[in-house]
């Protein structure tokens, strides 16, 4: 079976049996979702890349335990969110010791897909998302960026759906204030 044609279950069982091509295929397939999650949570920095790598490494280690109760995408997103939250906690601790952490910003790296003004807009939006408290950022990343439904978001975060909805509403209001210049909103 060609790797590209294999479905989720086949990929997982092949990876369990030590098929490296299958694991590579999993990384390739789910990388965009994991990237959106960690970059959304941590900002566009090298630490986010490290957390992205760690997400797949943790998944590899837990391959035997993965029962398939949730989809692979949801499972990986959950790992990515949990690792990002740990990273944010570490950052908070570090912040009290070092005012400005040695985080390496990747914003300066040229992005051929979004040149010029588009990139500035993206940067502004990313900054606005980063300004949100983690509890709001989590729901924004899962619902608005990754496109999970409210129910799925609630499951991933282990929260009631009502809490997700109210956090989304508050996050929306906060974002609106930060993004006013981009939306041409009048006060």
């Amino acid at each position: 079976v060609v790797a590209a044609e294999r479905n989720e279950q086949e990929l997982i069982s092949a990876a369990r049996n030590g098929d490296q091509t299958a694991f590579k295929e999993i990384i390739h397939k789910y990388q965009p979702r994991v990237a959106a999650t960690v970059f959304g949570m941590l900002g566009h920095c090298t630490e986010a890349e490290d957390i992205g790598q760690e997400t797949f490494i943790q998944f590899y280690k837990s391959l035997e335990r993965f029962r398939g109760d949730s989809s692979l995408a949801t499972y990986l997103t959950r790992i990515a969110i949990n690792l990002s939250i740990n990273e944010l906690r570490k950052r908070k601790k570090k912040m009290s010791t070092f005012a400005s952490s040695a985080r390496h910003d990747l914003e300066h790296i040229p992005d051929s897909r979004h040149p010029g003004p588009d990139r500035d807009v993206q940067r502004m939006v990313r900054k606005a998302v980063q300004k949100l408290e983690p509890k709001f950022r989590k729901v924004v990343v899962l619902r608005m960026i990754n496109g999970y439904t409210v129910k799925e978001t609630a499951q991933i975060l282990n929260l009631p759906a009502g809490t997700v909805l109210s956090r989304l509403a508050r996050a929306q209001t906060k974002l609106r204030t930060s993004l006013k210049p981009l939306l041409g909103d009048k006060p």
Binding site: H28, P32, A35, F56, I57, V121, R126, V150, L168
Partner: protein, 144 residues
């Protein structure tokens, strides 16, 4: 603007925000649709919210730097190498002794249950029985 109008507007705004994440009830859908038709301001608010959602959705980078897969595989190898040796030995030991521990626990439980069911119940008189013999009585016993 009077109090009733203000609370109505608040309700409509809430419905508008909720409509982005949830399917509204038929009645609420109609209320919102009617309000949107009547109020250009509300329509503008809806457009802004939609635009904001699009901006946020499009803002996230969805790719890591080139060579990501190789870096992950290298990370896996490193972790595997670390788990080799002593850690692997302990892991195997744990795996070997797991069935022994389970069987032992089951046997212990069975033994306790058996004793509870079949054994004589303990009698408090027997438990706290003390000999009435004094030290002198005991010492008086002729051994020869």
């Amino acid at each position: 603007m009077n109090k009733t109008n203000r609370s109505k507007n608040k309700k409509i705004s809430r419905l508008l925000i909720r409509s982005l994440d949830q399917e509204l009830k038929k009645k609420d859908q109609n209320t919102l649709a009617e309000a949107l038709k009547k109020s250009p301001e509300l329509q503008r608010e809806k457009n802004d919210l939609d635009a904001q959602r699009q901006l946020v959705a499009g803002s996230a980078a969805r790719n890591f730097r080139p060579g990501f897969t190789q870096r992950v595989l290298a990370g896996v190898m490193t972790k595997e190498r670390k788990t080799n040796g002593l850690e692997k030995f302990y892991l195997n030991l744990k795996l070997i002794f797991r069935p022994v521990a389970v069987i032992g626990a089951v046997l212990l439980l069975a033994l306790i249950l058996f004793n509870l069911g079949a054994g004589d119940p303990l009698n408090s008189d027997e438990m706290y029985y003390a000999s009435e013999n004094t030290v002198e009585d005991i010492l008086d016993v002729s051994l020869f």
